[in-house]
């Protein structure tokens, strides 16, 4: 397991929602969020917006880690996100991690999945395009 790079993974919004770093896997952060009233949607199921927030945060985290490996420091501007809601999320801990499909000079394309007990049974997946603005 790689050493955790010293980077800020969580936005004020992500911390406020209760998102936290779970572990590092394949040089990308696995994030989790525990069940709470703040992530609840209709009774008994997680809110799609909260799951989207977890997915997005995992996407930015993976991207920041990949850029840190090559010494790049950048700010991100979201271009778009497409979320597929695959299963209802139960009232328990949820995880998410992202895979960088393409890392370019100006944009990145990310594939993100969220799951609960079994990573093979994702509750949601997302594709994200992100604009990268290098900090010079």
């Amino acid at each position: 397991m790689a050493d955790a790079p010293d980077i800020a993974l969580l936005t004020p919004y992500a911390r406020s929602l209760g998102i936290a770093l779970d572990r590092w896997e394949d040089n990308a952060p696995v994030l989790h969020v525990d069940f709470s009233e703040a992530v609840l949607g209709r009774p008994g199921a997680l809110h799609g917006g909260a799951i989207s927030g977890l997915l997005e945060t995992a996407g930015y985290g993976a991207l920041r880690a990949a850029l840190a490996e090559t010494g790049r420091e950048a700010s991100f501007v979201p271009i778009n996100i497409t979320v597929q809601f695959l299963r209802a999320g139960d009232e328990k801990r949820s995880y998410a991690s992202a895979r960088i499909v393409k890392l370019g000079r100006r944009t990145a394309n990310l594939s993100v999945e969220a799951w609960q007990e079994d990573p093979a049974k994702p509750i949601a997946s997302a594709v994200m395009n992100v604009m990268i603005r290098d900090v010079t």
Binding site: A8, T11, P12, Y13, A14, R15, S16, L17, E37, A38, V39, L40, G41, R42, A45, H47, G48, G49, A50, S52, G53, E56, T57, S75, V77, P78, I79, N80, I81, T82, V83, Q84, F85, A88
Partner: protein, 160 residues
Amino acid sequence: MSDPTPRFDPSVAADFLVSRAHNGWLGMRFSDHGEDWVEMELPWREDLLGEEGRDVLASGPIVSLLDMAGGLSIWTRTGEFRGIATLDLRVDYTRPARERKSVFGRVQCYRTTRSAAFVRGIAHDGDPDDPVAHMQAVFMTIDKRTVDLPADRKAEQANG
């Protein structure tokens, strides 16, 4: 013929429906509606920022706002409050929101079938003609029955 369940009215029901759970945590509130669209407001708040040092709402809450406005637009168009679940949702962020501004999500339900509902909309920060984001989503009906709102809300709706 009497209809025991009054037609769904977002101007009465929306604030109650977003008063709890994730939507309540975000602090969403009703803004405006038409026959097949609903606009919800997400007031600016310090702990919902997307970037340290910039007073702009994160994109996550904007997805939540558009998702909720989308659900409300379906109930408004059909007039029935039913269990629905988001199947697929896309958001294009066309420009950053302005600092310390509320973001509004205005979503229209343009088509319903027996089990699916199609919605599209925008997020803006004051001027609907200058959106910060565009969205498109598909919802599935998960309960064929109309769900009754709590009794006090029904009475309010009936008195409307």
